[in-house]
């Protein structure tokens, strides 16, 4: 058996003796030193270490491949969803908070676009996909703050604006308020073309570059799984729908300047600004400002439904204002 201790310059007899000594046998064939157990133990340990290293390498490689597969699958899923988002959608979505901030910052007077002066024009316009946001003007000046503070749900104002009650009675308004306060599906049906700004903010980031960067930068499967779970649970569809909206309906509640006791649902007499903006060119199509005061509500219903009734009444006021301006225009 060859050994590395033998060189090709050694005479054969010497080479044989060196090989014998490496094997642990003396000149007379007897074992001079044969640490076979030690040798076997070392070989076994070395083999075990190598096997462990190889195993670790293989496992890590498999893990890396699984990670990359998972990452690719998630990115593909995001990309698939993102294909529905056009550059215009992204641009409009990015600018909607600024529009809200502009509406909350100041009131520049009533506005009614010419195309809304025709009878039924407002109803027709409101039938198009729209974004809705209601926020307190005191929430902040920064668009992001206002966006975050916007009400996450549609309310009685949207319902009554899109589907006004037949009469302006407390009972009729209350029926609308009940719908607004009821299950999501009952409110959703008549207002299905309107998406809340919160939905846009909740779902769209999952199609945006920062989230993609997180996915690309994830180093562990657990992290990827967390991102996938967040993506799968994100309201992507509503966000995509919201991103398609080119109308923005904003309602800004101004701080109450008259003091007084607030109702149980927080409603107090205050001014409210309503604006309807074309997001394609940020042109304000409708802007009105009205006072709301729950004093007109019967005491039995006021404490619980003041805000809803006021909101519905406000929606009727907007319709009334549009009608009034249209009639005035027609008369002129």
């Amino acid at each position: 058996m060859p050994t590395f201790l033998v060189t090709n310059r050694m005479p054969p007899e010497l080479a044989a003796r060196v090989a014998a000594r490496v094997r642990g046998r003396g000149s007379r064939g007897a074992k001079s030193r044969s640490p076979r157990f030690v040798s076997l133990a070392r070989v076994a340990i070395l083999g075990a270490v190598l096997a462990l290293i190889l195993g670790i390498v293989r496992v890590r490689r498999a893990d890396a491949q699984a990670l990359e597969a998972e990452r690719a699958a998630l990115l593909d899923g995001i990309a698939a969803k993102a294909t529905a988002l056009s550059p215009d959608d992204r641009r409009v979505a990015a600018g909607v908070e600024a529009v809200l901030a502009g509406a909350a910052a100041r009131y520049d007077g009533d506005v009614l676009a010419d195309e809304l002066r025709k009878p039924g024009a407002l109803r027709a316009l409101l039938a198009r996909p729209a974004l809705y946001a209601r926020v307190d003007a005191a929430a902040g000046a920064a668009p992001a703050d206002l966006g975050a503070a916007a009400s996450p749900n549609k309310d009685a104002f949207v319902l009554c604006l899109l589907d006004p009650p037949e009469k302006r009675t407390e009972t009729a308004l209350l029926r609308k308020v009940h719908v607004a306060y009821s299950t999501h599906s009952r409110l959703e049906a008549p207002t299905s073309n309107v998406r809340v700004l919160g939905e846009l903010k909740a779902g769209l980031p999952f199609l945006a570059e920062p989230f993609l960067a997180q996915v690309r930068g994830a180093k562990a499967m657990s992290e990827l799984r967390r991102l996938r779970k967040a993506f799968e649970h994100a309201p992507i569809a509503p966000a995509l729908e919201a991103a398609k909206a080119r109308l923005f309906l904003s309602v800004v509640d101004e701080p109450s300047d008259r003091g007084g006791v607030a109702e149980l649902d927080g409603e107090k007499p205050h001014a409210v600004r309503v604006a309807l903006t074309d997001l394609t060119n940020e042109r304000v199509l409708l802007r009105v400002r009205r006072q709301v005061d729950p004093a007109w509500i019967s005491p039995a219903r006021r404490s619980e439904y003041a805000r809803g009734l006021d909101s519905c009444a406000l929606a009727l006021d907007v319709h009334a204002a549009v009608s009034e301006w249209s009639l005035a225009e027609a008369a002129n």
Binding site: F4, T7, M10, E13, L14, V18, V22, S27
Partner: protein, 565 residues
């Protein structure tokens, strides 16, 4: 002449032809003691012991033990018949010690004593030794070479028997191999001009030098001494500190059989580690050293015998030097037939060196060797010392060594029996006469024809008339064995009668020569002494009436004083 005599190889070497051939085959080729080499050691046991000593050391006494158990050649002498009475071990320690350049060396004295006590039965071995000694005397350069070889063997023995201790085991083994190379080179080169048996050393050395094992050994030592040569350039500043250090060139000893590439060296270490050895250059070297040793280990066992042989010859040369330092001469004797005259000129007793005195040499001449010589004379006249001197001369002569005489003409003796000391033992069942008779009986039980016999004060333990009767009987019986007998006695009248009557053949008489003041001159002349001068001896040793009387008075006075206190 000695080939006819039955020879007994002490230790079991038989005289069978087939066994002899086998013996010769196993025999050490550098045997300096026997004309026909024979196996003196248990080869396998000795090789195993050497192998263990090489590997681990701590085999103190390996050489001494091996020499102690070594067989000696065929001999007709029985050591227990003379060794004690001749103080053989004392003689060896006193006179055959080895000194080189004035420095004494510890020798295997018991082995040398055994060699002396077993002179070779074959004449060829005797002549073989005489030629070696003669050449060592004639050619001082050869003596110096032998001394150098002996010193190298001593260093080798010391290193082999010592443990590694804190030494690097590889370093120790490499030093051993280097010493072995030196020994082989000395044997091959130092005795190129030898014509005697010393030429065997040259043959041994040259044979080993031609072997692959020796070449491998030299390669390994060269590998150890010079793996590579580096040329360096060192620049030193004015403050003595090194400013620059540059490696100019590296030259590897790439032709050496043990030099491998760096990769091969690393793989070799890994291979040994996986085989259960330690990881490191030391373990690689250990394997190579043992492999080289395996090839040459068969050449190591003969070095044990060679060391003993060197001690014998160097001891003999030192005996010659010692004698010369005291104005005495030694010689290689001439051997003549038994009927030829015995001539010992300038004979001295070397045992007297132990007393720090220079022995007085004497001349002993008898007309033939196969005679019985009765020696008479005063006590402390040198009679017993003469018996020792003659016996030692015979023993040394037949062992092939220098005899303590200026010139000597001897005849071969078939054996040697010396009875000088009459020790009293606690368990002895007989009185002095009985003990003497037992001695006589033992003498005749072992005495072959032609032996040398030394008897001191035969039959002195009984009344003279009965003792003389037994004495005469012994002498008559001895004559039938043609011995070379020397017997001392104080039976002066009896001796004179025998001299007058001349009825016993081959009986000769010597007496102590007395000087002008009746003091022994330690010379001997033919005849029977007229007196033993016992009174003079008594006076010398303080045993006269007057001297004893004064001692008695002194003791009585001392006792009286003690009682008075």
């Amino acid at each position: 002449m000695l080939h006819d005599r039955s020879a007994r190889g002490v230790g079991g070497a038989g005289d069978q032809a087939a066994g002899g051939r086998a013996e010769a085959a196993r025999a050490a080729p550098c045997d300096l003691l026997y004309a026909t080499p024979f196996a003196r050691f248990d080869d396998e046991a000795l090789k195993l012991a050497i192998s263990l000593a090489f590997a681990a050391g701590n085999q103190g006494g390996l050489f001494a033990d091996a020499l102690e158990r070594a067989r000696v050649g065929p001999t007709t002498f029985e050591a227990d018949a003379f060794a004690n009475d001749l103080f053989l071990k004392t003689f060896v320690g006193l006179c055959l010690g080895v000194r080189v350049e004035g420095r004494p060396y510890v020798t295997a004295q018991s082995y040398v004593a055994r060699l002396l006590a077993a002179p070779p039965a074959e004449a060829a071995s005797l002549e073989f030794r005489r030629q070696i000694l003669g050449e060592l005397v004639e050619v001082p350069a050869l003596r110096r070479e032998l001394e150098g070889l002996y010193l190298a063997l001593c260093r080798f023995r010391k290193l082999l028997e010592s443990g590694a201790g804190e030494w690097d085991p590889n370093r120790r083994q490499l030093d051993l191999l280097a010493l072995l190379r030196e020994i082989v080179d000395r044997a091959a080169g130092g005795f190129a001009g030898a014509r005697s048996g010393l030429a065997r050393l040259r043959g041994f050395g040259e044979r080993v030098q031609r072997s692959e094992a020796y070449r491998s050994l030299c390669e390994l030592l060269a590998y150890d001494e010079r793996l590579a040569s580096l040329k360096l350039s060192v620049t030193v500043g004015a403050d003595g500190k090194i400013r620059a250090f540059r490696l100019l060139s590296i030259e590897e000893n790439s032709e050496n059989a043990f030099v491998g590439s760096a990769l091969r060296r690393i793989l070799g270490k890994v291979e040994l580690f996986l085989r259960g050895y330690r990881f490191g250059e030391g373990e690689v070297m250990a394997r190579l050293i043992l492999a080289v040793f395996d090839g040459i280990e068969d050449e190591l066992a003969p070095l044990v015998g060679l060391l003993g042989d060197c001690e014998l010859y160097l001891g003999a040369l030192c005996f010659r030097d010692q004698a010369a330092a005291q104005g005495l001469e030694v010689c290689l004797p001439e051997f003549v037939p038994a009927e030829a005259p015995r001539v010992l000129e300038g004979l001295f007793n070397p045992l007297l060196f132990s007393q720090g005195i220079t022995p007085v040499p004497c001349d002993i001449v008898t007309d033939r060797h196969d005679a019985t010589v009765l020696i008479t004379g005063p006590n402390s006249g040198g009679k017993t010392r003469l018996l020792q001197s003659v016996a030692l001369a015979q023993l040394l002569g037949q062992a092939g060594l220098f005899v303590p005489a200026r010139s000597a003409r001897l005849s071969f003796a078939s054996s040697l029996v010396v009875s000088l000391i009459q020790e009293t033992r606690a368990d002895q069942s007989e009185g002095r006469l009985g003990t003497e008779l037992v001695r006589i009986r033992a003498l005749f039980e072992r005495l072959p024809p032609g032996a040398m016999v030394m008897l001191d004060e035969l039959c002195s333990g009984t009344n003279p008339s009965e003792g003389e009767e037994i004495f005469e009987l012994v002498v008559r019986m001895l004559s039938r064995l043609s011995p070379q007998a020397f017997i001392t006695t104080h039976f002066l009248a009896f001796a004179s009668r025998l001299e007058r009557q001349g009825s016993i053949p081959d009986l000769r008489f010597l007496q102590v020569d007395l000087g002008a003041n009746q003091e022994p001159t330690y010379q001997f002349e033919p005849g029977v002494a007229k007196t033993s001068l016992a009174g003079r001896a008594a006076a010398r040793l303080g045993v006269t009436g007057e001297q004893l009387s004064s001692l008695v008075e002194r003791n009585r006075l001392s006792l009286a004083v003690a009682r008075a206190r």
